[in-house]
Symmetry: D2
Subunit: 137 residues, 4 copies
């Protein structure tokens, strides 16, 4: 397969219009991969003034999909489980930390933590993805 660059991944990820709408950023990181960052604002909150679990779900789903892209796989999510460890406060930056656990031809298994800038973990997701095509032939 042709090498997928971080630019390729980020370009594809920007087509997630919901991530743009939420204000998330795609940032290249050391292992040729990409991390999502979101500075949490009032508009992302639940009734307790904390980051809504649905936004957390959006970040992890997209970050795991981006890991698949890095393997030259376009995917759709089959199922995703998110576990919420503790509330994430507003006016703070949240980061994704995703990785592939099992890279099958048809099914890819991934996990993703949501962390703050000190590395504390606030939520963890695991998901299964179905491979629908390649990013580059």
């Amino acid at each position: 397969m042709e090498k997928i660059t971080q630019e390729d991944i980020i370009k594809f990820c920007h087509q997630n219009l919901i991530l743009e709408f939420l204000g998330a950023k795609f940032v290249p990181i050391e292992n040729d991969s990409v991390r999502i960052e979101l500075f949490v604002g009032e508009r992302h909150t639940n009734p307790y003034g904390l980051l809504h679990g649905g936004v957390m779900s959006t970040l992890v789903d997209t970050a795991m999909g981006a890991e698949c892209l890095a393997q030259n796989k376009k995917v759709v999510t089959i199922s995703m489980t998110v576990e919420f460890f503790k509330p994430f406060p507003v006016h703070t930056k949240i980061l994704t930390d995703a990785k592939i656990l099992r890279d099958g031809n048809r099914i890819v298994f991934c996990e993703c933590k949501l962390i703050d800038e000190d590395g504390a973990v606030y939520a963890k997701a695991n998901a299964t993805f179905y491979v629908i095509g390649k990013v580059k032939e």
Copy 2:
């Protein structure tokens, strides 16, 4: 417990600022409960031009929480699993159909379908919630 009205639920739900930001509506339905409706626009999409799974996750999480409110329980999500049956198209209205499966004192188990106006099911979630307090004393 004092009766929780649909107005109580909707008022509380409007404090989910992310739902306002996404453009979702809370609509009273027959069984004293509340349903979420979202007219899916470009800003809600993934790179394939379809509704992003994270938005679906946001809708089901909130709709299940609203079911707990109807039982006079404020809750936080412990864990949520979403299964994605088929893609949901843009320019279409998506609706939640949530219910409580097991209403414990401390833990509430819920499920929620995402349907279109004809009742076709596009995704299904199940989740566990931890009870943190009452809506009304």
Copy 3:
């Protein structure tokens, strides 16, 4: 496709040697499908003298797989989530109540309740299956 009979399903299910070992029975039911029944004994218990969640997981996984067989699909489980509503007592019969939620060509989504003979629900599972072949050509 050739019609899959309840006898076909039960014959195939009996090749689940673990179910035989646990003492489970496969019982034909009205909708051309099959239900698993287990009379819970001491050997199935956890330290609290109640049915172990792992046995419950074994029953639901197998029952959902049997539903796929009824659609002429041999499957392997991709992922399964089980939610435990309340403890199931020993010296009682537990029954599965499985159904298919979305029957895709490659991926099948199922759910399964665990009930007692009065229909009370003790646990609920949902799972995704990957289709690996047909029962009958």
Copy 4:
């Protein structure tokens, strides 16, 4: 809290009669914790002659519960998700590798891998547990 020893954990775990019935062993490991080992036999198999997912679910559920015991917490499982990466062959030893991700007062979040003796991962579970009491006062 009084120190929980590996002997305490193993003694408690042996009250999981289903694990005895399956032939599983509880083995003390380096970090004061306990690992479950099962030599997979014909009686543990699915129709494909491979380890049944339900047995895998039983092992991970119990191993995660044992991690909670090591924190002096008796728990019941609220929900568990198991993802099946690849089939595990018969006549081979399978091992658990469990850890706590978030140790709350009421809710504990755990994960567990199932590995062979070379460390290859065959399945991964994550689960939430509700704390019902202490092992030692």
